[in-house]
Point group: C2
Chain length 582, copies 2
């Protein structure tokens, strides 16, 4: 036995006990004839004391111990003279009688402290040392806790966790698949799942009624910051449900996680149609922790002779309270912000309502003070408020104004970082037109059901068809999304036609699912949550990488194990593939 | 809302209530003016009644309903006239007032009953229908339940579930890897994990102390019956532990699963050295539900002039009680059994001790009756007992006799199918010599620690080195295995040398792990359980395929989705690979 207790366990009540502890040397300091060592393990830190007068050999050995050495000590628990109220073991220390070095350590390439001096690349290379840091340990425990509570809730609600296969079939719809060459079926490939979508639908057809799985998914995308080629979903599906059954069930899950993990009570989640979210927040994942909603101004500002506004599909404003006295420099900063390529506006107009009641505007040569006052009044502006205005293509300008709104929210400190405001965004468009390939794509995926009242538009006005789909959004982050699915072969075929599949392609790729629809498929729907993202949100983090034990970098590499890597000629030969010559 | 209740929920206390149910038509039968339908869902079966006299249109509609139609009905709960005590809803039925067909069904290709008329290939193709059968549903619920209880136990014991990556690095040691071409790093490949072995060791080095994961693993093997290219492990690792700490912890897990899932109490598990298991049972996974242990007879039967026995490394017998009067035909059957290629003996000798006390033997021309009587006495044979004897190469003959012992156990009905007798097999050999490649292989894997007292033999007598390794065996099935790991760089390097790795190969493949050993690696060890196999054992099944939702067939194919399959030229080109020309 290596230890009688962990390093987080001993209290004043243990004083006088003989104990054995094992762990890592966090700190080693001399004070006169005494040597103090902070011994660390997952559970906490316990102070060890070595006394030169009592046992000088042992004390000298202790002084040799470097950071991160792994040691085992035997000794007696004693009450501390100088208690440390900051840690649970702070009232005691161990008077060490025996010391064994289980494994020495080279000097770590960065400090294993809350604030480390290691850069990200270095920490990733030595991820096993980085993971010793408190912050990472807390993040992985949070993840573990959220997985436990997710399962607790879903098990209680009669969901059954069922494992679906990882070696499946490649389908060109959606993102790129990772593929796996089959040695036994030469020239053929498995694909890794982008999600268990078709399998969970088959489980509904098989009568399992309520399915879930916390499951790895794979997407071979050009990585952007905070995308991982493999990521984890809480994947769920229910049979015999309407949309509201699904929303209520998973609103329940979210509330359970808030209360059980964060001890936060949240009110019922608003349900906001996609169109409203775009109109009011310029985003399909609105952060509703603050107002400053978008206000359409076409009726007040068009047809007054200002060509830029007159030509625009949309003229839209937000009201920044207390900013009526913004300087030219501050306004220029905002103009620079909206002109960034990521935001994409060509300019920014404003109406300043100064503290002393003056109205100043960047467009005042086109508008009378009365015109401008009408805008201020309609938007409820008071002296010291600022109206910011963008104009242009409706979709683009909404999105740009959504970004400006968030920027102003941050500048004005309107966003409470410890508040949570979840909502459901509903009634997404079913299809998205792609100019480049000149075809429709499924906004969600091809199995999403149109709203029943819109089905008739599918072949006449596809753009107008709303999906029976929904997203869970928390604080401006999309945490999950799902839909009621198609469960009828004819409708599914129609959907594939609208998406430009030939009958042969549809049958080749999804024939098994459409066949299954003919053998008693129940109505069903579901949702999938991005687990990495949800944990990151709950942990108050910026990057999902900090909440994944062994993440890949932005080039899709694991720099610790140095993967991907070349494989042997023999392996390639057995698999029947070779690097193609270009 | 599609239903007010499930089909397993209503009881006599609900009589008189208006309810709405939804489900599948299991059976449809007419009796006079009445039509009865058994409506099925995951939760049970409820009887629906349609009365021709009360509503002839509705009753006619009901008569049209085929098997597996999905319907919704509204009606009143009524007490049944003929109660069915076999099902929990058997006291009530629903007097239907409204019927809606949610989805019709073609006639299923096989019957959805406990005993179906569908062959395996057909059922696999329509797996979503096969999964509707009770047996499969029970199997998947058992699996779910075992996963829940595994997590309950391990969470309670302070283990933390941590997800490790699926896109890792190929290493030629062990079985073949499945590989995944990297589009972003052309010419390079990820590999799918055969197990998270190195990651869980790194987590111990990172200080996580107790890790587990229920995780998918992948092996590209030539499939035998009951091997799957992807399978699930309960993967565990602990730091600061001795072998006995590990065994006690996971004996606790096994006992918890026995009691919580099967309601079976099992006694403490015996711990049997590998050598003893081979000697007494001819197997490293002995079924100890019955005795009939192997008895070495070299000292009694060698050097009496019978060349076959004299030349053998081992002469070994088992005693089959009550078989002393076996006929020539029965003995020939046993001879045929041991001569099968899978068993591999060249012949079978016997000594019959007949009911009337006569001694008859297939080798009596070489042995005096006194010789034979000595064997009978030493083996404690009584009249009506039979001694079966094999001779030859020690390892081969032990294994053959182990097979014959199991065969006799079955023939004599000595194996209680509902009894469970787990044991630990310990002290496995560290290395296995391979004649073909003329090198040692790790019997477990290259990270397994030798027993400390045997380390000195590693370079002088590798064959004799015992590993600090252990297997959990239940009823003759290996359910899991593990070991105390090497945590010291020098010992790991020595191990790689013994296994014939060059220094460069070792560094290339496992450099990150050996580096990690230099930064304070604690002593650690762990175990992994074959979850599919464990569930199959608990479910009393023969094939793991019956306990996997979507298994692959023996050729590694999923015949339902038709995978693996060819992928497009464009995909191949993007990945930078092409089918090699041979």
């Amino acid at each position: 036995m290596f230890r009688t207790h962990t390093c987080g366990e001993l209290r004043i009540g243990n004083a006088g006990q003989a104990v054995t502890l094992a762990g890592w040397v966090q700190r080693n300091r001399e004070m006169g004839g005494l040597t103090f060592i902070d011994l660390r393990d997952r559970y906490g830190i316990t102070q060890l004391v070595f006394n030169m007068e009592i046992n000088s050999d042992l004390c000298r050995d202790a002084r040799e111990l470097g950071r991160e050495f792994v040691i085992r000590v035997r000794g007696k628990v004693a009450e501390r003279f100088n208690k440390n109220p900051k840690i649970p073991t702070g009232e005691i220390e161990i008077l060490v009688e025996e010391l064994i070095v289980l494994n020495p350590s080279k000097i770590p390439p960065f400090t294993i402290e809350d604030h480390t001096d290691g850069g990200e690349e270095l920490r990733m290379k030595y991820r096993y040392l980085d993971l010793r840091r408190n912050e990472n340990r807390k993040n992985l425990f949070l993840r573990h806790q959220m997985a436990i509570e997710t399962r607790n809730y879903l098990n209680f609600k009669d969901f059954i966790e069922i494992e679906t296969p990882y070696l499946i079939k490649s389908t060109p719809e959606g993102a790129r698949d990772f593929v796996v060459p089959s040695r036994m079926n030469e020239g053929q490939f498995y694909a890794l799942p982008q999600s268990p979508q078709t399998f969970k639908q088959l489980l509904m057809i098989a009568g399992y009624d309520r399915y879930y799985q916390i499951v790895r998914c794979f997407r071979d995308e050009d990585l952007r910051a905070d995308r991982q080629p493999e990521f984890t979903q809480i994947d769920c599906e229910m049979a015999f449900v309407t949309r509201d059954d699904v929303l209520n069930t998973f609103e329940g899950l979210a509330k359970h996680l808030f209360i059980s993990v964060l001890n936060v009570e949240v009110s019922d989640f608003p349900r906001m149609p996609y169109q409203e979210a775009m109109k009011l927040y310029g985003s399909d994942k609105p952060d509703i922790r603050f107002g400053m909603t978008l206000h359409e101004l076409n009726h007040l500002l068009q047809n007054k002779g200002f060509k830029i506004f007159d030509d625009a599909g949309l003229v839209v404003g937000i009201k920044a309270e207390g900013c009526g006295d913004y300087s030219r420099k501050q306004l220029e900063e905002l103009t620079d912000f909206v002109k960034r390529p990521q935001v994409g506006a060509t300019g920014l107009a404003y109406i300043k309502y100064t503290t002393d009641g003056a109205i100043k505007s960047s467009v005042d040569k086109f508008y009378t003070p009365e015109n401008l006052k009408l805008v201020l009044d309609e938007m409820g502006a008071k002296p010291a408020d600022l109206i910011l205005i963008l104009a242009g293509n409706t979709d683009k300008i909404r999105s740009a104004m959504g970004d400006l709104r968030l920027e102003m929210g941050k500048r004005l400190d309107l966003i409470n970082p410890v508040e949570f405001k979840p909502l459901w965004v509903i009634d997404f468009p079913l299809l998205e037109w792609d100019e480049e390939t000149r075809r429709f794509y499924a906004k969600h995926h091809p199995f999403t059901s149109p709203k029943p009242e819109d089905i008739s538009l599918l072949e006449t006005d596809p753009d107008a068809v709303r999906a029976n789909a929904y997203d869970l959004v928390i604080n401006g982050t999309e945490i999950g999304g799902g839909s009621i699915r198609i469960h009828n072969k004819e409708l599914q075929q129609k959907m594939f036609r609208v998406l430009g599949f030939t009958e042969e392609e549809a049958t080749n790729q999804f024939g098994f699912l459409m066949n299954a629809f003919e053998y008693g498929a129940p109505p069903h729907g579901g949702i999938a949550f991005g687990f990495d993202r949800w944990v990151t949100l709950f942990g108050g983090g910026d990057s999902i990488r900090d909440f994944i034990a062994f993440p890949k970098n932005n080039a899709g590499r694991d720099v610790m194990i140095d993967s991907p890597s070349v494989i042997s000629e023999e392996q390639l030969k057995e698999l029947g593939i070779s690097p193609s010559t270009k």
